[in-house]
């Protein structure tokens, strides 16, 4: 399998304070990689650095053979990275339909296919995104990212703060996506759901990659040391 995304020793600063001290991770084609770690360890910053929302000052990010570092965020997105940001950020002043078509780029993912994945969205077609429930907004955010036909989908805390029924639906969608061969980089706190889907795990601690490997190798000791509260 080809390496799709290679993040190598990146360091990112917010003003004078350093958030990442050397993060390494690799996503291969068709793989689901779980990015894990406690709160404030740099998961979201890592994602922001990959997507060009925060500029990293050292290290490299290579996506599909292209050096992402110097590119502005919209060009990175056009390379084929679809981000579902934390906190389900839709465009509240647009309808569900407008949210989806505004993002659309040609490819296998069409409105119909998004509707098949999330039938609820179709029922809400002409509603403004601001009037959707949290779960529906999350589905819309995922749908919007898929409409750009990404090579790599990045899900940042996609099930956070949602009702259990909705979580189930989202996880089912993630499994469906994986089955269809979609490469995914995913951040989530529900290990019981996350580990069965993941092919690889990467754990961050204080802005550095401290462990990476298959979910099966993730033993109780590592879990307690880096993920436990």
């Amino acid at each position: 399998m080809k390496d799709l995304l290679i993040v190598s020793a990146i360091e990112t600063f917010y003003g004078p304070s350093q958030a990442l001290f050397g993060v390494d991770l690799t996503v291969r084609e068709g793989e689901v990689v779980a990015l894990m770690g406690r709160n404030g360890m740099g998961k979201t910053t890592t994602i922001a650095s990959i997507c060009g929302l925060e500029k990293f000052s050292a290290g490299t990010v290579t996506f599909n053979g292209a050096d992402v570092g110097p590119l502005p965020s919209h060009k990175i997105a056009r390379l084929g990275i679809g981000l579902v940001p934390e906190g389900r950020r839709c465009f509240p002043n647009l309808t569900v339909y407008e949210n989806l078509v505004a993002a659309a780029r040609p490819g296998a993912w069409t409105l119909d296919r998004v509707h098949k994945l999330f039938p609820r969205l179709k029922e809400r077609y002409n509603q403004y995104a601001s009037t959707l429930s949290g779960g529906e907004q999350q589905m819309l955010a995922i749908g919007r990212a898929l409409m750009t036909n990404p090579i790599l989908l990045i899900l940042d805390e996609a099930t956070e703060g949602l009702a259990p029924v909705i979580r189930k639906e989202i996880w089912q969608a993630v499994r469906d996506l994986k089955a269809s061969g979609q490469s995914i980089l995913i951040v989530d706190k529900t290990l019981s759901e996350l580990l069965p889907v993941a092919d690889q795990c990467v754990i961050l601690e204080k802005g550095t990659t401290v462990w990476s490997g298959a979910p099966a190798d993730l033993n109780r000791d590592i879990e307690n040391r880096y993920l436990g509260v």
Binding site: G52, L53, P72, H74, A77, L83, F91
Partner: protein, 329 residues
């Protein structure tokens, strides 16, 4: 009735009444009102242009007078050269002026579009109050340039002796000129309506909401805004060319910041982001000007009170009062 249907019905009503008024005026032998209605239509086109940037894009441009004036001067300069039989330039090849409206419109639209491209490249790097100030500054720069340029009348302005020509139509007949302007108004509103419901329109409204989110789906907000600003300026530039033909006179006052303010008043009075908002706004403006303008020089005081009321109590503008609120955000 659905509020969207209500707005549509209202729009049709506005368009029809605007179309009928000049004919009634002619029946009553009051041709002055035809000119007044044409003024409404021309101002409305200028407003429709600004409404694209302001209403859909959230770009508060305080420099649209620049485009209105550039359109006006395009018409004035081309026509004056043609009427005086002086070529525009002779050095490389001979380029003559023209009195053909179709060509003049083309030049006006292209010239104001180019100006908007340059102004936009600088001003769209900023936002909020800085954007307002930079567009205002560019507008004033062009205004003072026009004043200090003696070749085309400077402060005194430039007269067009005969109204320009349109193939197959006698444009000197006020009703014909009204119909030409009215058709252009409807076309420009149609354009905005198509843009608004397109993918471009969705992206533009998304850009107003959040730049970062838009760029993570692969769209460059700056390009979307620049395109909007240029198209918006082109429509306002066309209105400027028509205004020059209506008055058969161009002066730097078309370029002054008062004009920018007036165009913005049309949009706000009628309803920001509403298709027919600028039409209603321009109509009310002209109505106040002709009713209270006859009574007192300070007629703007009354308009100001209405504007204050609209801003405080009816943020959807007059269209919003009747047709209900639309999307928020």
């Amino acid at each position: 009735m659905d509020k969207f249907d209500r707005e549509k019905a209202l729009n049709v009503l506005i368009a029809l009444s605007l179309l009928i008024i000049p004919f009634i005026a002619i029946e009553m032998d009051e041709p002055f009102y035809v000119t007044l209605a044409t003024r409404v239509v021309v101002f409305a086109i200028a407003g429709v242009g600004l409404n694209l940037a302001l209403g859909l894009g959230g770009l508060i441009s305080f420099g649209h007078a620049a485009f209105f004036g550039i359109g006006g001067y395009a018409a004035g300069i081309l026509a004056s050269h043609a009427l005086n039989y002086e070529p525009l330039m002779t050095s490389l090849f001979e380029l003559n002026g023209t009195t053909e409206m179709l060509i003049i419109w083309g030049v006006a639209v292209v010239a104001s579009g180019l100006a908007a491209l340059i102004i936009g490249l600088f001003s769209l790097r900023t936002s909020g109050v800085y954007f307002i100030m930079i567009t205002l500054a560019f507008g004033q720069m062009i205004y003072y340039f026009a004043i200090s340029w003696p070749a085309y009348g400077g402060e005194d302005g430039l007269s067009i002796y005969v109204r320009n020509k349109f193939p197959g139509v006698n444009t000197l007949d006020p009703i014909n000129f009204f119909l030409i302007c009215f058709t252009l108004l409807m076309l420009s509103i149609l354009l905005i309506s198509v843009l608004k419901n397109s993918r471009f329109g969705a992206a533009l409204q998304a850009a107003r909401q959040n730049d970062e989110r838009l760029s993570t789906v692969g769209i460059h907000p700056f390009k979307i805004r620049l395109t909007t600003f240029v198209v918006s300026a082109m429509i306002t530039g066309l209105a400027g060319a028509l205004y020059a033909d209506l008055n058969r006179f161009v002066s730097p006052s078309m370029l002054s910041w008062h004009t920018s303010g007036e165009i913005m008043v049309f949009v706000i009075l009628g309803g920001v982001g509403r298709l027919f908002g600028p039409v209603v706004g321009a109509a009310l403006f002209i109505l106040f000007e002709s009713i209270f303008g006859g009574l007192t020089e300070h007629w703007m005081l009354f308009l100001g009170l209405v504007l204050l009321a609209v801003v405080l109590f009816a943020r959807g503008g007059l269209i919003g009062v009747i047709a209900g609120k639309t999307r928020h955000g």
